[in-house]
Amino acid sequence: MKVRSKFLVGSGIIVITLISLAYLGFTQSKTYYHTITELSTLQGTSLRQRMRVSGNVKIGTIAHVPGSVDFVLTEQGKDLRVSYVGRDPLPDTFKDGAQALVEGKMMPDNRFEAEQVQAKCASKYEAAPNQTSGSPQPGQTSNGVDARPAGS
């Protein structure tokens, strides 16, 4: 075999291996983003996917019950009941009215079971986009490194 074709075969093997690994990793970790409004329209298998949903914590709905923390996420008038079943303490920023991002799965009873909750409190850092002050957003420092909220 000529050197060139040997090289091509070698490269081909490497590339195919990597693609299959990538596919495997992809199926294991893909997560869908959905809005609360979209959730009600989902059907069948797409309801069983792992997903991320964001919204605001409805004021007065946080309830500590044995085994979980229940609360309601709201977005554009639509509500979603969430049960947080994770091990980690909730971030301090998780309060009434906070903007939260939950990751987990829909349960058959239309409850969202979250394994992770990330939250952003209504602090001065929550400046609207394009404000002249240009404050860094929480969770994203201005220098290229991502800051994950404590407890995430």
């Binding site: 869908y32 929480p138 201005s142 290229g144």
Partner: protein, 689 residues
Amino acid sequence: MDILGSFSLLLAFLAAVYAMGAGIAGIVTRKTLLTKSARNAGMAVFVLVTLAVACLEYYFFTDNFSMAYVAAHSNRALPFYYKFAALWAGQEGSLLLWTWLLSTYAFFAIFINRNKHPELMPYVGVVLASVQTFFLTLNNFVASPFAVLAGADPSGVMRVSALSDGHGLNPLLQYPEMVIHPPMLYLGYTGFTVPFAFALGALLGRYPGEKWIHITRRWTMIAWCFQSIGILLGAHWAYAVLGWGGYWAWDPVENASLLPWITGTAFLHSVMMQEKRGMMKVWNIWLVFTTFMLCILGTLLTRSGIVSSVHAFAQSSIGNWFVGFLALVFIVCCASYWKNRDYLRSDNQLDSLVSRESSFLFNNLILLAACFAVLWGTLFPVLSEWVVGNKISVGPPFFNKVNIPIALFLLLLTGVGPLLAWRKTSFDALKRNFAWPLSGGVLAGVIALVFGFRDIYSLICLILGVFVTLTIFSEFFRGARVIAGRDGSNLISAVGELTMRNTRRYGGYVVHFGMVLIFIGIAGVPFNKDVQKEMSIGQTLNIGPYSILCQNFDRVQNGNYDSERATLEVFRNGKSEMMLYPERRFFLASQVTETMVAVQSSPLRDLYIVYAGRSPETGQPVIHAYLNPLVKWIWFGGIVVVLGTGLALLSNRRAALVFRPVTEQAWGDRLPARVSPVGAIAQRGDAND
């Protein structure tokens, strides 16, 4: 004084525009005077931007809270070093820092070569000025750091107003590394502009030979070194400050900094193919182009929030500018490549699969695959939304599945590549060079296996790490022994002599060794342990060989923050070893809670303790303890990498006497010409440089 900053920034913009316009005119009309004036304008940009930066720093140090940017990111009580670092705490200042570092690079690139390469430098100057024009446009017209706070007075006239005190710096940024990490990373990002300018300049000007490669290799190494420092400092900051027990999470913002580093690494290797064999010219040009574009993309991802990482909900319109610029750069690159593609014809073909060339090819292929995978994973939410209308993100399993095998294969090549000869390596040479190190590696693996080392990737990493280390040491040893034998010196000084005679090669080995240390550190991950427990006073938590006794919880209050603190005593084998004090601080000014991690670090393992908050159910304090083996090796490896790069940047001792004339034309077929001046090493033609 208040307008000096914005005025000099505006002048800088005009100077950059002039440098670009006059530069192009100078090239077209071939008028030397015009070219010279463009060059001077290019250097003036640096002076003007420096002035603007100095002004902004002055506003910070004088607590000028009529400046919007200062008011948003500083306060009177802030320590002076954080006032200094507050310059890059927000969007506007970060972009100014970008521009300033870029102009610094541009200044030196132009200044050092002011009397050299008259056919190449005008093009380089134009490219540099164009990039600067873009960033100065942003600085002046889109995200000016010099906006003043103003309000209407009772009669309706706008007047400058000032706050009595600023909002303060984000507590997450109040950490020593934050003073040096962003400039380092930006020095990396901006530094890749210089090789880009030389590559594009050489292509546009059809500059003969491989000289641009020689000039840019050094600049690339400098940028690469800063990028490495920046990435590692960022990882260390994430580890020490964010309190989640890890240092890398494949977050878009992290990935953004890794991408140009990967292609930069690929370029630093494949560049040798072009220098020695006149091959891969197209590839190299595109690697440089890609690296630069990835730097812009990285800035775009960081600044715009296009890929909304879970943590960054940030949105900003500035992204469109970067997308536009990126598209423009891509079009210019494609067009100049298409127009001058015949200039990049290769001089040689691949001779054998077992050769230095092919190891470089595989190295590049693999690095590019890694880069592509990381890029793909990072942009996947955007791509999937475009294609199927559904935003899908991928997590660490995706990145790890692809990148761990790639990294291990690279580690293998790190050991194998430098010992293969150019063109073709004989089986005897292979046996001679590899028998020892390979058996050492396998032996280490067997020993580890006996001691219950079961993680396959970590085991391979260990074997390869030992193998690569042994090949590196044997290289030093062989060369040094010859020198010691001839000069009658001892082996240690012979190693120094050897290194100084060919800094690039031996510096490269040191960098490789540093990478091995980093790999070993990362290989500790599968052995991480963590325990989380609600604790009350008098309870203990067991992790690995340690048991942690909770002695007390108390509150510390001062003007800056309220803190909940745990006092923990750490026992090992029943003996008290140390006290640790993890805290949770609530910063009053910014209303932000921050974790203060308590870490006890040793070369073998880090004991990393987080006061995680109070349990949602019982209200008891929760302590999260992590046992992370070998993390320290990563930081130490980073230092070795930096030292090695520094070494490789030094000039060769005696080089001027012996092989300067040879290097000048050391390309194409004249391969054996560029051997070290040391006769003894020259005999081993299979492994030169």
